[in-house]
Symmetry: none
Amino acid sequence: MKAELITIGTELLLGEIVDTNAAFLARELANCGVNLYFKSTVGDNLERAQEVLKRAINNADLIIISGGLGPTEDDITREVVSLATERGLVEESSVLLNLENWYTTRYGDGNSMPIQNRKQALFPKGSNIVPNPVGTAPGFWLEVHGKIVVALPGVSKELQAMFNETIRPLISLNGSTRPLAIRNLNFVGVGESNLADLLSDIIDHQTNPTVALYSSTGKVRVRLGAQADSIQEGFRLIRPLEEEIIKRAINNFYGYDDQSLEEVVAAKLIKNRFTLALAESCTGGLIGHTLTNVPGSSLFFQRGYVVYSNLAKQEDLGVKKETLDDFGAVSSQVAMEMAEGVRKKTNTDFGLAVTGIAGPGGGSEDKPVGLVYISLAHAGDTIVQKYLWKGTREQVKQRSTLAALHLLWDTLKSHSKV
Amino acid sequence: MKAELITIGTELLLGEIVDTNAAFLARELANCGVNLYFKSTVGDNLERAQEVLKRAINNADLIIISGGLGPTEDDITREVVSLATERGLVEESSVLLNLENWYTTRYGDGNSMPIQNRKQALFPKGSNIVPNPVGTAPGFWLEVHGKIVVALPGVSKELQAMFNETIRPLISLNGSTRPLAIRNLNFVGVGESNLADLLSDIIDHQTNPTVALYSSTGKVRVRLGAQADSIQEGFRLIRPLEEEIIKRAINNFYGYDDQSLEEVVAAKLIKNRFTLALAESCTGGLIGHTLTNVPGSSLFFQRGYVVYSNLAKQEDLGVKKETLDDFGAVSSQVAMEMAEGVRKKTNTDFGLAVTGIAGPGGGSEDKPVGLVYISLAHAGDTIVQKYLWKGTREQVKQRSTLAALHLLWDTLKSHSKV
């Protein structure tokens, strides 16, 4: 199956937005075994967009359009598909009703839907509605001369949810190529090149499965892909390689595919009925935010303290004034007193603390920007780690959060019953 | 001048790389007054890439190709341009010498240049060399039937340096269009379509400046663009429109261009020497994280409490047990006691509190998922707001954070001296 991607939006041609939707769709299509051979971006111009779509329908089997489904005049995707496929637009009353209800629920009875939003209930004749589980406006797909044309919104979260729920199954139904099984292995606390060194013989001799490494701030992903007659057969090919790779970096491995470090940490805490309290200084709440992104986190997380000032460290966590005076707020001693203090005060199984200098200001020769101490207190032991990160303020916060969760994950593995 | 962008590289069609070069070039071309009307990505396929280039030469005045200039077999840009423009490839001896010298200097006399790198000294006949100030391989540009075709490497640093040094001056020399001044106005707490309604007469009658709306979670951006003889003249054309638009939605406007809401809030707090404390329930630390992304936030932010449990709300903030029993943790009463409690406890000017149900679990008929109360306590008054958000857990957290900062921003505007 040959696919083509069309993103519609003048803002993408002005460089104000990096087109992450294209990267997402490209990756997902590859995972489905669909061969994406062309992608293009066209502005909010009816004529030009029509021409591009007509050409795509001639060349490809599957055409995915993203963007241009909003309520404003710039949003031209409906008209473009209607004109290029010579099908009139019809109003879907069920969609219209949903849109109107949404406005009334959200803004109260007095506030009805703006008239221009009515446009979002229009679809080219013969369209199938693609439900939008996380937003108001649905997308659509239709068959044109045996080809499939799909239209999804430009908002990433909506596009991704709709692709996952509706378009992926649609592709499987129409799939003609040999499926590609993909398994991602996620690692933390190891650099991309160090992991590549560790796996160099495997990387050098890869055929099917293929092996590729991708890194993002503080994390590395190893992607194994195997083409086979069935997905099951593909995963059978992947399994021995997967086990070998995990074995070689077992202390850094934390999960598969879309599993996040916070998810595996949360699952482990919940399973063991452990509780956790946080004491954050330079991360400013990011650890709490990250952990509470996991549904059900209230089962183990009861409270956190963002203690930016020295007074807060003393009053809320019982850090001693002498410790602050003698060693400074960014020190292993203060990190440990924060971890022990928050654990004692909240009566939890684990107390996790971070103190450091996120920058760009506040550094000195002795204590440069990027210096961070992380401490974890639990029954019988308090661990402390020192890091010196490079990068921007946000990167220092992110790397510290990952390292803190990594420390918690490591400790949980050796101190858990289940 | 009409421009088209072609990026060459199979990796871009596999979604393994987000195409930041395209965003860079798109933005820079807009700044040069060049109208980018189409961009496309094609894999490492000689025939397909040729077809795309031929079409581009027919349609545009300036064609910029990025990628495909490396030494490996996948690197096909030279051949593509050579075939599409029917010009043979010739070896540039000066470039070859440079490449060889670079290898000897870097790896020592014993290590000569790999034979395949010789390819990087080949150029379509009649090409002008584009020097590469930060890497080994140069790019090239040539005139074809009065059109300009430019080829630059895919490595971002090299592409950007080469664009700045050679291509931008080249465009000015050939430029026939006028530069484009761009001003973005940022709004919060208003939907895209409501803002479009408010500005409908302006949007309907736009010519130069142009007006366009873009939305992301909880925020809307209005982009004004004016073409004129100079950038200064462009901004002069924009100014009256800019002022009119801000006037119509003054309560929702918070900043220009890349300014974030947290930045303007932080600047206002610092200027007025105000202090702030946070009491977060369903946002889990996201407000603290967002505010502490701003450098210097320790000047106004001293501490925050993430009070997930009822016990924490009582112990840390002094929320009354009866209030929790009578109205529940997600109620305007508890939100107000949280805001007043955190302000009193920390002795700050402002106490900002959020309590709600982020979902996906925890909702009921009375108190559905997405129900959020935000409260702000300051000298003499405590404000409380009720919201009912739609969306995922993370979206509820994000929208609540934006709404909380919006409330703070609004209050600061009317209670600040500077």
